[in-house]
């Protein structure tokens, strides 16, 4: 049953996987809530591990969620499910040699799709911030220090142009120093 839920979720997601892994977070969150696979904190941890690993973040997340939900077979099935749509569509495009990127209809679709992908990522940021209690500023040491870490992370990414992987690594070290 869980295997079918995993397959169905990631196969479906594979067909709409535009704009990179973080645009897929609303899909993943919807499924995780619906099927009760894990808590929002656990999900954020999984996303962090997916972002630290090489390879596409969407597929990495699928593998991790598959593994923690149903073991090795869950991981394999989820990877297969999210790759299958790409395989099908690449084969169709290759076989018919469709030059989709010059097609005016496809261009028009992407004109509307790209801004919506931006909305998806903004939505993901809002729901992750809420799930991880970033919005509840209550003056405690923890809450204030988390806001500072958040601001420093953004600064490192936007101004210092750090690779996200270094941000995650350094943030982990700060966490160990402050919260253990």
């Amino acid at each position: 049953m869980e295997l079918w839920e995993l397959f169905h979720t990631f196969f479906h997601m594979g067909f709409f996987s535009f704009g990179g892994g973080y645009a897929m977070m609303p899909f993943i969150e919807a499924a995780v809530t619906k099927y009760g696979w894990m808590s929002p904190e656990q999900l954020t941890n999984m996303i962090a591990i997916a972002g630290m690993s090489p390879g596409p973040i969407a597929a990495n997340s699928a593998i991790l969620i598959g593994y923690s939900t149903a073991g090795i077979s869950g991981a394999i099935l989820s990877a297969f499910a999210i790759l299958l749509p790409s395989l099908i569509l690449v084969l169709i495009a290759a076989a018919f040699f469709v030059k989709m990127h010059h097609n005016p209809l496809v261009e028009a679709m992407f004109y509307g799709l790209k801004p919506l992908v931006t909305s998806l990522i903004i939505f993901a940021a809002i729901s992750f911030a809420e799930a991880n209690h970033l919005v509840s500023l209550n003056g405690s040491f923890r809450s204030i220090s988390l806001w500072i870490i958040f601001a420093l992370s953004l600064f490192a990414l936007l101004k210092l142009r750090w690779n996200p992987i270094y941000v995650i690594a350094l943030s982990g070290l700060i966490g160990i120093t402050l919260y253990s």
Binding site: F16, G20, N45, I72, V106, L116, I121, F123, L173
Partner: protein, 203 residues
């Protein structure tokens, strides 16, 4: 028969070697693919590879996996496509799995829990950073700005699939009605010439 297997293994191995470099979805892979596929093995010429990258972005999924699959197909048909896809996915699959297994094994450790308290907040920052990066290529005029703005509250009520379909539909309606009314539709920049952000490139 033996020859065919040899060719498939060669495709598999080529992408297997490139794969662990693809942090964040794949754009780092482009120069490596050009070197391996075009210069070393001469499977495709550089123009064909450029076409493959452009097309791989209009297909859902990671650019790295899509272009590998595509190149595999051009070299060895459907079996070549499978060999390339498995080759490019297997190393990262194993690395992620190893990290996931070790995480689940020690996630109760207080030090790791403490690390993740901070990491979770940084992930929120990384997602915002991803949004800003894609906004730079997605928001090209007032219409696209409005779609982004309207999309966020809409997502509280509809499933992401519906929202994506609505976005694409809005794009088609806007572009074609602008054309009908005689407005010139601003063509978006060719993403192949704008390597800062590729659709589907992760970040």
């Amino acid at each position: 028969m033996k020859e065919r297997w040899k060719a498939l293994i060669e495709i598999f191995w080529t992408f297997f070697k490139i794969s662990p470099v693809t942090f964040g979805g794949g754009f780092a892979m482009v120069p490596l693919i050009v070197r391996e596929i075009v210069e070393k093995r001469k499977w495709l010429d550089s123009e064909e590879v450029a076409d493959v990258f452009a097309l791989s972005q209009s297909i859902p999924g990671s650019v790295a996996i899509n272009s590998a699959t595509f190149i595999g197909y051009r070299i060895g048909g459907v079996k070549g496509a499978l060999a390339a896809m498995i080759g490019v996915s297997l190393p990262t699959f194993l690395i992620v799995l190893a990290l996931g297994v070790s995480y689940l094994f020690i996630h109760d450790h207080p030090k790791l829990e403490a690390a993740f308290v901070s990491i979770r907040i940084s992930i929120v920052a990384i997602i915002i950073y991803a949004a800003i990066k894609i906004a730079k290529t997605a928001i090209v005029d007032k219409t696209t700005f409005f779609i982004t703005l309207a999309g966020v509250p809409v997502l509280f009520f509809v499933h992401p699939t519906t929202a994506i379909l609505l976005g694409a539909l809005t794009g088609v309606v806007v572009v074609f009605s602008k054309k009908k009314m005689g407005y010139k539709h601003k063509k978006s920049k060719d993403p192949a010439k704008n390597p800062d952000y590729f659709m589907g490139a992760g970040i």
